[in-house]
Symmetry: D2
Subunit: 364 residues, 4 copies
């Protein structure tokens, strides 16, 4: 059940790098929704490798097919299976890595956990596994956007030591983000980031970065205390993305250095509801959305697979030098943007359905 | 189901500040374990208020009773219900707060989510709710410690702007941590932290801080990709603790600034297994434990309830000044230490049971 | 998690015969519901032993206490813990059975499954465990009755070879059922049943029976294909009750002997909806309620604990004669009536909440 | 989540009659298992229509493809996606039924539940949906058979009023069952059953029947009280199969007429364990397997879709006569045999994994 996520809008993903297909089954999608492959493809295109000279050179079409759950372009309320064929089903370029587990990659832990592992490409730990997340996230995103006017936008806010300047999270759009290849809306910073990534690609090294995400127009009341507080499920969702090492909501770690008197967000009247004049809470109080924008930051480590030679040991414990071949991204954050948006959409929609369920039977 | 946590070792908590009792039901505890209230009480004592002049003055005995699931001091494998009576069941000191939602507290979001809220003390969003987590976490901790030699130790690594110096996470023990009231093992820093907290208590303000946690002797192979990766469940667990705003594992946000060539943890031979020479991964690779210590950092915001007057609005949207009365902690991190340990134990034990289940039926 | 049941209205039960208390935690109860112990006690009273000379002589008050989740008589939307103290916490009268597993009882299987068992009374397999089901079922029943006008009535339709005559399931009420001690609304049959039970009590033998149940005014659309079809969850719920061996909905086993042309329920116009002129379907088609009464029958075997001597073997496999002492029911069906009603209420309410959740977000 | 089933061995099915494909994702399959399409195809062949002149004339190859989760013929421990293409994706022959809901079919309830329905063939309520169950059940069955020597055999024990004579459930095999087209091992009864079905096919009518199932060599200790007792999960599993109306384990409804002194199964020594001399319990005591054969009976109603004209009303409530065209089975029990075996295998394997998990961490 660990490849499933969500309670009322529940996804189950499958597939690894070199099997026949990767995909996802969505159980609990509301019936009557207009849905076609074209609704899903754009986010997959933003995720796929080979979008620019900065990322891996692999060319994968990643065309999604809807196998079930719709008829005449409408969802039936039954499970929706989405599938993307793997063009390249042959293991290749991974010869060396079979005997030498890549440092900080999943080769060793997969082998030890399952007693077996895919001979190539990391199997289920590869980024290719995120296709199911992105495809189902695109469906959730469409529902949130069209029915509830909720907007989710993620962007790259740092690459290595290069930080983007302040971004207006109230206004930023996906086209703004896509204006640069590195998906950083601060164009000056983006240029520097692209330069660093290009240099590291040349060198065979890699670098980490931070993806920021805002979720706007979330109604008050989403999140299910105590173990499924909104920030708890968002944290789980984001740390389930490959290569993540940290999560912040609102003031995050910086907030630990503040006084309550400066950190507290005073209430004010905003249209028909109470709002706050500041947003250190990041849109969540007591584990429940308060109507303000939800603001997240997710830390991505530098990708583990690099071409530079590494001193390590093989599976038998013998000293070895690993020089990975193959096609590798020097920095994953640009491609991680639609994954972060997808996970956010999956969490928010599931919480929305659960709160709508509560409201429908509330006693007054 | 949102007050439940875990798959094979599953807890369900209940209770708010001023009802008859708070507690937890544990479903899936291994049978035959020696278990008495004395095994659970110490962690509850570390959590309870009134331990020192630094925290709230409330005196609550928080004595745990085992209602079911054991006979002659042994667990039966049936649900174990643990209960702590609420001594003080009368709402008090909360008069003003009834009409003015506390900024950055859960008063407003609970009212909007449920259409009703406990008249006092934040109900289920109060720290009192964590008793169930700590009590069940103490049971999990005992199993991990006695049967699997897994050690979990958390400590305070910062309060406001005061950072502890380097701590040896390989060696630190709970007695080390408890040597200072603030639970920071760097005694010089601890003295400064205590001073700041005392001043803020006097002033009626509050401050945030960071709790660090190490989990030692975790076997290779724990964690369930993809949505229940070890770090994903740990992140959910920690962000479910009241007042948390951030989570890091291993290199965390600092790791985003590193190159792959410096961030990767080279393998080396360690006893009968492969280990790593560095631990930027924080003990987890590909969502699965790699046998190295798991290292976490959790950000706690300053508590929302302060005595300083705050300019805000009441539920009707009218301008108001809130001067909270009652008994409030100026800093929660010292009391958060056993909560963090408890959540960590719950995650690790559940993952351990799931991996043992896999190993028992593996084909070779 | 096996002591939990339900998805949106989820219960977790605890407790065995001779521990301090038995009870249940309800997670997901709609907020704002008026709820007091008096709403729950009547069904517990119908379940408890010692109601008549026909059942066991044990006198247990079984007074329920609400520990959490309400304030000022209203539910808060937070977990509701319900508890019934065990008056008699001493094992007794079970001396012999410690070494000789009772035939057809759970002594042997519990010992083998858990490697340990409660030294007395069957522990978690005892009927006392059903208190949690009945108490939480009474809460579900109240919501169904007051907010959705759904009525659930169960009754005894056979004891041994004595069958009740036809019962008008459209009209029968709980007071009708309670008019006889054996809870059979056919008074002539009830008298015969009571006589048989009294004779068997005298002899130290036991007998089985059938409980029928009707659920009226269920809206069209409840049930979640494919593995949580309405009849599938009802079957699980009923077979989870101790001593059950069979389940039927609508035409049941008799329907297997019919032709489609006679079994099919033709549609007709009924008020604002389509209804059917016959009800062989038992209110369910394709796993989903169709608006007609849901009609169930549940088979209960004769209780395993009897006083007559039984030739069997002890745990070591040595031939032995078991003469059970203690207080035992010769027939459980009368006391099973509120348990069947409780399980039915738990299933229907959970399915209702899930369908309301769907309707709230349906596209049109 | 209602199209998912199981806890540790968890399946999620998808697909309806006329979409691109039907299938299933298995999460939690033990790693290292040899698995190829050939392991799965035989049970699909036993399920598919057109096997004999007795069933529908549709010819569907139902070839299964393994999309993911294996490499070099071994399972990786990752999700296994199994897919069967729908050859015939065009709705046809269903013209009339669009406006007139078929009596006792799911047309009406699906439309009311989801506000939309597949225009043909019953969509998700069609028997085609069971392909996912059978395919994943075949994987579970292989594990049970090869690693644990557990044998599951189902057969037809009645069709309409024709009952098979006594069958030796200790010895019966699948080849025995497949020796007759109707899958009834009593050849004399089988001939009569086949004749009745042929007559009804000619007439355009249908008939019900009973499938019996035995599960042999189940270890003592499977089943998770209280709501996931072994019989409770088996009952859910069987009642989730289309067209089922009843479930019995062991003595079933007949057992209600017995005395405890005759119904109780005395213990005896059997090899290294305790066994019983009779098996009225049907292999389960207190919700837990006792090592004896598990014996089940499942009632199937006559299929709802018949060609005989039926007086009913259309969706608007206007009187109408329905004469269904298309390809329909007059009796589903022969094809239901592998479905019953599949559901049984899914329940037993999941319970086995859960008990192995318990044993691995038991204290002694």
């Amino acid at each position: 059940m660990s490849s499933s996520f969500g309670t009322l809008f529940r996804i189950s993903t499958f597939g690894e790098s070199h099997c026949k297909a990767v995909g996802v089954v969505i159980d609990g999608c509301p019936p009557g929704l207009s849905l076609a492959a074209e609704d899903i493809q754009p986010q997959l295109n933003r995720r796929r490798p080979g979008q620019s000279a900065l990322s891996t050179d692999r060319q994968e079409a990643d065309q999604v097919i809807i196998l079930s759950g719709t008829e005449n372009g409408k969802t039936l309320g039954t499970p929706i299976a989405l599938q993307v064929a793997n063009k390249d089903q042959r293991p290749q370029d991974y010869g060396t890595m079979r005997d030498i587990p890549r440092p900080s990659h999943a080769d060793y832990t997969y082998q030890m956990k399952y007693g077996i592992r895919a001979s190539s490409g990391g199997g289920r730990s590869s980024a290719r596994e995120t296709i199911g997340t992105v495809a189902s996230g695109a469906v959730a995103d469409k529902i949130l956007r069209e029915k509830f006017h909720i907007e989710i936008v993620a962007w790259v806010s740092s690459v290595g030591e290069i930080d983007a300047g302040p971004i207006d999270s109230k206004a930023i759009t996906r086209p703004d983000v896509d204006a640069t290849v590195i998906r950083c809306p601060d164009h000056a910073a983006a240029a520097k980031m692209a330069k660093v990534v290009a240099e590291l690609k040349e060198k065979g090294d890699s670098v980490g970065g931070i993806v920021s995400c805002v979720i706007r127009n979330v109604p008050v009341g989403l999140g299910e205390p105590t173990y499924e507080k909104l920030e708890a499920k968002l944290a789980q969702a984001m740390l389930a993305i490959p290569a993540t090492k940290g999560f912040e909501i609102g003031s995050g770690f910086a907030g630990t250095r503040m006084r309550g008197s400066e950190h507290n967000d005073p209430f004010t009247q905003k249209g028909g509801r109470l709002g706050t004049t500041t947003n250190n809470s990041g849109g969540v109080q007591g584990g429940i959305s308060n109507g303000e924008p939800i603001e997240l930051r997710i830390a991505f480590k530098p990708p583990a697979t690099i071409s530079l030679p590494q001193n390590t040991v093989d599976f038998a414990g013998e000293a070895a030098i690993l020089e990975a071949k193959g096609r590798h991204d020097p920095c994953v954050v640009a491609r991680a943007v639609p994954i972060v948006e997808g996970m956010a959409a999956l969490v928010i929609l599931d919480m929305l359905l659960r709160q709508e369920a509560r409201k429908a039977v509330q006693f007054r």
